[in-house]
Every structure is written in structure tokens, then in C-alpha cells.
């Protein structure tokens, strides 16, 4: 009987790191992302009776967070626009398998995508959702989700090909050292 709230809390805890990463990708700022996750946790807690245990809590929480983000954006009249979205802020943990220049370029490319394409490629490519789940989260058709991902991927490939040349320039190493301090 009393196991239910505890397991709701436990499942929520397990989802928080991924939910927070998604929030960072939406807001582009860690402090705003944390506020957003906090609002989401409170909303979800209040709505927990409407959640069926055993169904996909992760998708449910992502949906609440995303709705919350866009409704706050609307309320503030897009004042949030100052953030380019997508991990623009420095990260305290550096993605180790890539050089910082490399990641810098990637973040820049990601921030140049339209919002709907960026969230699509992140939900599918990084959060680990299926097309069906991602379409539910974004309240769109599965086909729409597929075409957003495909367009995002093509655009990223184009953008990275252009910036890729700079990576191998004579200054790549020193630039890498400098950006380490600023960006990661």
C-alpha cells in the first residue's frame, strides 16, 4: 500500500538527470533549467494520481517539462529568446571523448537549428525515446517527428562540414587550450 508513493519518488529520482539534461537543451542555461525542473517536479507531484504506475514515467515527465517550458515562454513573451537554447553554457563535466573545439562547434551548430528540430534530434538521439514516444511528448504526428529529425540531421551535417575545416587549422591546438577555460 505505502510502497506506491515511494516508488513514484524513486522513479522520478531515476529520471531527473536525463530530465535535467533535456531542460538544459531547451533553456540553454543551467539556472533556468534547474528552475524548470523544479516546477516540473512540483507539477508532476500534484498530478501523480493521474499517472499510472508501470507506464512510461520518463515520457510523462518530459511531456510536463516541455509543456511547462513553452507555457512559460508564452507568458514571458519570448523574453527567454536571449538564450540560443541547447547547451550554450559551459558544462562542469566535459564530454571526454571529444576535444573542446569539436564540442564547441557542435553546440554552435545545434543552437542554429529551429527549436522543433533541435528538440526532436535530442529526444531521439540522446534521451533515448522512440519516435512514437517523442511524437507524444511534442504532441505531433510520428511522421512529423521523423521529418524533423531527418531535417535536423541534414542541417547538422552541413553545418559541421563547414566548421570542420577550421578544426584542422594551424591554431587548432592553441584554440583548444583557450576554449577549455571559457567553455567547459
Amino acid at each position: 500500500m505505502s510502497a506506491e508513493p515511494t516508488s513514484f519518488k524513486r522513479e522520478m529520482l531515476a529520471t531527473l538527470p536525463s530530465l535535467r539534461a533535456f531542460a538544459v537543451s531547451l533553456t540553454g542555461k543551467h539556472d533556468k533549467a534547474d528552475d524548470l525542473v523544479q516546477d516540473t517536479v512540483m507539477k508532476a507531484w500534484a498530478k501523480q494520481t493521474s499517472f499510472e504506475m508501470g507506464t512510461n514515467i520518463k515520457a510523462w515527465l518530459f511531456t510536463i517539462l516541455r509543456n511547462e517550458f513553452y507555457s512559460q515562454m508564452r507568458k514571458r513573451g519570448r523574453e527567454v529568446q536571449d538564450s540560443d537554447g541547447a547547451f550554450t553554457e559551459r558544462l562542469s563535466v566535459h564530454p571526454s571523448q571529444y576535444g573542446s573545439m569539436d564540442m564547441q562547434d557542435f553546440k554552435k551548430a545545434l543552437s542554429q537549428l529551429p527549436d522543433d528540430q533541435r528538440e526532436a534530434v535530442i529526444l531521439i538521439g540522446a534521451s533515448g525515446f522512440s519516435y512514437e514516444e517523442a511524437a507524444d511528448i511534442c504532441d505531433c504526428a510520428v511522421g512529423t517527428m521523423k521529418s524533423r529529425v531527418s531535417r535536423a540531421r541534414t542541417r547538422l551535417q552541413d553545418l559541421l562540414k563547414i566548421s570542420g575545416e577550421a578544426d584542422y587549422g594551424p591554431d587548432a591546438v592553441s584554440a583548444q587550450v583557450t576554449t577549455t577555460n571559457h567553455s567547459f
Binding site: K9, D34, Q38, V93, H94, P95, Q97, L110, K146
Partner: protein, 89 residues
């Protein structure tokens, strides 16, 4: 002795192969219907996306957020025990 060792390592390698197969199956399953989306385990964009996302995940959850969950949970427990004790009267 030698054949014993051979058998053991054979057993191990079969086990390893089965494990590989299982991993491949799991991977195929998670990638089902999206083989051509260019975001799979061997793609540059997919890997970079996951590296970036993973870096944020590894930062852990801020303490204030964990505190909030604890507070929500204990408030709810308190509420429940109040209801129960009232029912008991």
C-alpha cells in the same frame, strides 16, 4: 589439462558470443524502425549528441531539487498518517 583449458576458453568464448548477440539484438531493438535516422551508435552526430547530453547528466542532480522531492514526499506521508489516524477515531 590442456584440453580442459581449451574447453573452458571455448565455453567462455561461446558465452561471449551469446552475450554479443544479445547486445546486438538489444541494440537492434532500440534502433528498430530508425535504422536510417543517422543517429545510431556509429554515427558522428549521434555520438556527439549523446556525449553532450551525457555530460549534463553526469553533473548530477542539484541538492535543492533532491530536498524538494524529500519535502514533497514527507509532506505527503504526514498528510496520509493524519488521514489514517482520523479514520481510526
Amino acid at each position: 589439462m590442456v584440453s580442459n583449458v581449451g574447453k573452458q576458453s571455448l565455453g567462455r568464448s561461446i558465452h561471449g558470443m551469446m552475450k554479443d548477440k544479445l547486445v546486438t539484438q538489444q541494440r537492434t531493438r532500440t534502433q528498430a524502425g530508425r535504422a536510417d535516422d543517422g543517429l545510431g551508435p556509429n554515427t558522428d552526430i549521434g555520438n556527439r549528441l549523446r556525449a553532450l547530453y551525457g555530460a549534463v547528466q553526469e553533473e548530477g542532480v542539484p541538492a535543492q531539487l533532491l530536498d524538494l522531492l524529500e519535502k514533497l514526499d514527507s509532506a505527503e506521508q504526514a498528510q496520509k498518517s493524519k488521514v489514517v489516524s482520523r479514520d481510526g477515531e
